[in-house]
């Protein structure tokens, strides 16, 4: 809603901008501390995921308390472990089912880049099919690394622009749907 006339802004627009920034900041603050995660756990990294949700490392301290196992209730998708070619369409579908705003963490090198499974079976990084906000390296990453990744994501969220009502059009195209269906889920 910036002015159409370059530098010149009316008072009203300035006031609106100020209000929006405050709202955005408030929403960012609220959202970063109430991340509902969907753990898409496939492989060994899941053991470290268990460790961070355990009492010692306790991811709940950072507001990412409870795993939600329905993508529709989650806003943080944690992709934990190897994603292979057969799993990829399912991951894409889970991501598509999540409501905006949503974020993605690639947990471990397999999710980030395929890891040391550089072969015919494994997807070489989930960013080939879904956008990723934070990559956590490590095979598996230590819990401290994961918490660090989470904090990075929180910083990112608080710096983003948030709106009360988001009118962004849904992303998925018909073509995308067709690809998905062709991908094996019948």
């Amino acid at each position: 809603m910036s002015s159409n006339f370059g530098m010149v802004t009316t008072r009203r627009e300035e006031a609106e901008g100020f209000l929006q920034r405050m709202v955005s900041r408030g929403l960012g603050w609220a959202r970063k501390y109430s991340l509902f995660q969907y753990p898409f756990v496939t492989a060994c990294c899941g053991m470290e995921y268990m460790a961070i949700s355990g009492a010692r490392y306790d991811v709940a301290r950072f507001g990412a308390e409870f795993p939600r196992f329905s993508p529709r209730q989650a806003d943080l998708l944690m992709v934990v472990g190897t994603i292979n070619q057969k799993q990829a369409p399912i991951l894409k579908r889970v991501y598509d089912q999540m409501a905006e705003p949503k974020w993605v963490i690639a947990f471990g090198v397999c999710a980030s880049s395929g890891g040391f499974y550089d072969n015919y079976a494994v997807l070489q990084g989930i960013d080939r099919i879904i956008p990723v906000d934070v990559y956590i390296p490590g095979c598996p990453p230590r819990p401290e690394q994961v918490l660090d990744g989470l904090i990075l994501l929180q910083e990112k969220i608080s710096a983003q622009t948030h709106k009360l009502i988001d009118h962004a059009p849904p992303e998925m195209t018909v073509d995308g749907k067709r690809d998905l269906l062709a991908g094996g889920m019948k």
Binding site: A43, E48, A51, A55, K86, V122
Partner: protein, 408 residues
Amino acid sequence: MAKQHDIPVEARPDMLEAKLPTKTMTLNMGPSHPASHGTVRFNIELDGENIVNLDPEIGFLHRGFEKSCENVSWTQCLPYTDRLNYVSALCNNFGFLSAVEKLAQIEIPERAKYIRTLGAELHRICDHLTATGATAMELGGFSVFFYAIEARDLLWDRIAELTGARLTTSFGRIGGVERDLPEGWIQKVKDTLDRVAELRDEVASMLVHNRIFLDRMKGTGVITAEDAVNFGFSGPCLRATGIDWDIRKSQPYWVYDRMDFKVPLGTHGDNFDRFYLRIDEMKESDSIVRQCFEQMQPGPTMIEDWRYALPPKPQVYSTIEGVIGHFKIVMEGIKIPKGECYAYTESPNGELGWYLVSDGSGRPYKVHCRAPGIPLLGGVEHMVKGAILPDLIPTFDTINMIGGEVEQ
């Protein structure tokens, strides 16, 4: 039938039953399902709530493990074996190494045998803790899970001190283990085991007095001893049916023949037996580790054959033989004599077998892993057919299928 006519019409038991014709329904469960860990998809045919048919579909974690091994040297296979049953990497590491050593006909030093035994037992405890904790969690006992994870974290700290990694250890080398125990480690492990024992008992006591837990575990997922054998079960799931088959006892390897331990057995072959057997096995593992500490003598941890072991650094820098030995291992990989072999160890889930073929070059010609999880997964259908859908969850938990080893 004649008798039925004697009963007055209004008293016939099926008269009042309002029979609803039902159709069976097909339900897809997984591969990412909240109540099941591991990536497997069940195609379930349901009649009401009863399971008519169940078809497990795997392949969601296929990572090309066996093929990948053919492209690397024998030692470089080790990291791949970590990620088979990733909760007990040491058992896989050492199992694989034992198979290679069998092929190369190497005898490893005594101390290395002890280190292997105690490492494998520590990771067996980790695996059983995870299995128990996850079972409890998926049946709704979330706090139990915390106790189990805390105990596992304590053990992982010790494992990290020994191997440098919490869970993907890649520890051990062909011909022994490459590192001796760290200083003061033995006492630390003993203290840790004390604490783990407390937590383990806490876990057990929270569950075995819990009515809900008992109702869901007892008498569900039953398999008879005969069926278990026919399906090729091994490990805790087989022993829960009452069959005394533990490779550590029947074909002792490393130093298990010098250890004094019992093999816990179940009687019913149901979920509860499988769960409780794991608790009992943890106690035995605990005592095996302590016995190892007692019996261990100082000594080398690696063989001194330079065809298999890297020569010590002073030799590499000062003698030509040392340089050559080092160079050949690093550049060409360890040459395992031509041949094939099958070797097996008792991993936490059962018989972990390795079928290896070597063509005499520095790389495996073929590595095949007999994962204990595949027959177990194959038996799930038999165990839950006719039962209700919620019985599938504890059954799937107690067989403890690990995706990494099932899908090679």
